[in-house]
């Protein structure tokens, strides 16, 4: 394993992208940072710019308005990076499957611009913070 991947596993900084989620998943993401779960133990930090990020936490089933923004955010993230589709909507549009304004899900949009993108799925409506932490651990183990 190269030192780059090893260091990446020890400090994955995450950037939070909302592509039309109902805010439940967003609240649960912020929950991970509270003293109860405290993801800073694993070096995980929420950053304010995609250029600092190693992982994108994408919530929501990608509306038509949000899709170009999601592509742009992915292009601006320095590689190597991981994309997390958080929640039922992120994984497969959830209850909005037949919505006229939904162009997602997340993996379809990301794979349009980068077919080799690493995408991890954390289902749930909303997923529990434990589920997200477990998803991140599994995705990093697979790197």
């Amino acid at each position: 394993m190269s030192w780059k991947i090893k260091a990446l596993k020890k400090s994955p900084w995450v950037f939070h992208v909302n592509t039309g989620a109902c805010n439940n998943c967003d609240i649960e993401i912020v929950n991970c940072l509270t003293p109860k779960f405290d993801v800073e133990r694993f070096g995980i930090k929420l950053v304010g710019s995609p250029r600092h990020a190693d992982a994108l936490l994408v919530t929501g089933g990608v509306t038509a308005q949000a899709a170009p923004r999601l592509r742009e955010v992915y292009r601006q993230t320095p590689k190597p990076c991981v994309v997390f589709a958080i929640g039922a909507c992120g994984c497969g549009k959830g209850i909005f499957t037949t919505g006229y304004h939904m162009v997602g899900p997340v993996d379809k949009i990301i794979k349009e611009i980068d077919p080799n993108a690493i995408i991890a799925y954390v289902p749930g409506c909303p997923p529990k913070p434990e589920a997200m932490i477990s998803g991140i651990v599994k995705a990093l183990a697979a790197l």
């Binding site: 030192w3 780059k4 260091a7 400090s11 800073e40 133990r41 070096g43 304010g48 250029r51 600092h52």
Partner: protein, 360 residues
């Protein structure tokens, strides 16, 4: 001083400062976590962060001025490393040159200047808002900082022997904090250092929540790693400077008692080794982290760095107990309240000088 320790000093000073800076930034994060009742990051976290950023892709914005964008972090890091080398040289070898106070003041501006240059070259609206805030902040605290040094210079001018030059080495032999004017100047300059480090009451240039890390928003990969290293080294250099200017340096006090006979340098090396070994052990025990933090502070006290730790902890506690202020509030604070306080302090120091009253 004999030749071998001298060579050892020049070899060890830059990596040592960078490592000490990363350890200090771990202390900042760990103590903040403990204040917020969390566990906090492991000891090697800042090292992992920098290593990871070094291995990432560097993205340069399309409209950015490439040369300034790439050069700014290097200029900032070089400036702050130069400052800390200067300070360590005065501490370890007790030699100084004429006018080093002015050089130190200039070198202390360099990181902020590099930050302003780099972020304004990055062609981002968020970064430009951050830049304008950083500029206003620099204008705000720089006046107070220079006035605080003028108090110290006035206090020291009365105390130096006739032949001695008024340099940092001479200033470091006296502790002006044990007088009214010196105490006022010390308190104000702690707040100025807080603003220089971009710590919380004065972090409006980086404002995570509104500007998305503001001035640094467009930086990625190795360039961001250099900014992080710069901020880490600033955590060493600026409190060290305060210790030298206000608290009487590292000589002639109770805390250096143990370090004096063997010399500061060997003790420093041993302490650094203890840090690294204990850090590697930290992963085997759940509570060793907190024990390690306490051991670290104890080791610092033994190595004569007690005053440095005191200032660092003060900065962290101010950081954790205050909300972010607006830029206009910060400027009003520095220009109206801090400057007025310092003008009073200068008048007191001058009165104390002419009537030779030591405690004024």
């Amino acid at each position: 001083m004999s030749v071998p320790p001298n060579i050892l000093f020049w070899i060890i000073v830059i990596p040592g400062t960078v490592i000490l800076g990363l350890v200090a930034s771990w202390i900042v994060r760990k103590v903040s976590a403990l204040v917020q009742w969390r566990v906090g990051p492991p000891f090697l976290q800042p090292f992992y962060d920098v290593a990871k950023l070094m291995g990432k892709e560097i993205l340069v914005p399309q409209d950015a001025h490439r040369v300034v964008f790439m050069a700014a972090p290097i200029v900032g890091l070089a400036g702050v490393i130069l400052l800390s080398v200067m300070l360590w040289r005065i501490i370890v070898t007790e030699t100084a040159f004429l006018g080093d106070i002015i050089v130190a003041i200039y070198l202390m501006v360099l990181p902020s200047l590099a930050l302003i240059l780099g972020s304004s070259a990055s062609a981002s609206p968020h970064a430009s808002v951050g830049t304008s805030r950083e500029m206003k902040l620099v204008m705000g605290y720089e006046l107070s900082l220079v006035l605080a040094f003028i108090v110290v210079i006035i206090k020291t001018a009365a105390l130096v022997e006739p032949g001695q030059q008024l340099s940092l080495a001479a200033i470091a032999q006296h502790a002006p904090v044990f007088s009214i004017s010196g105490m006022l100047a010390f308190l104000v300059s702690i707040l100025c250092i807080q603003a220089k480090l971009g710590f919380v009451p004065f972090d409006m240039a980086e404002a995570e929540t509104e500007l998305g890390s503001g001035v640094l928003i467009e930086y990625s990969g190795a360039l961001l790693a250099i900014w992080k290293l710069m901020q880490a080294v600033m955590l060493v250099a600026l409190p060290l400077f305060l210790v030298m200017v206000f608290l009487g340096g590292f000589s002639a006090d109770l805390l250096t008692g143990l370090a004096k006979p063997v010399g500061i340098l060997p003790v420093g090396i041993i302490v650094l080794l203890v840090f690294v070994v204990a850090g590697l052990l930290a992963r085997f025990n759940k509570y060793i982290d907190i024990l390690f933090l306490l051991a670290l502070i104890a080791a610092c006290l033994l190595a004569g760095l007690g005053k440095y730790v005191l200032i660092l902890v003060l900065l962290i506690l101010i950081k954790n107990t205050n909300p972010r202020v607006r830029i206009d509030q910060a400027m009003k604070f520095f220009w109206v309240y801090c400057s007025t306080t310092l003008v009073v302090a200068i008048i007191l120091a001058l009165i104390g000088n002419s009537y030779s009253i030591g405690w004024l």
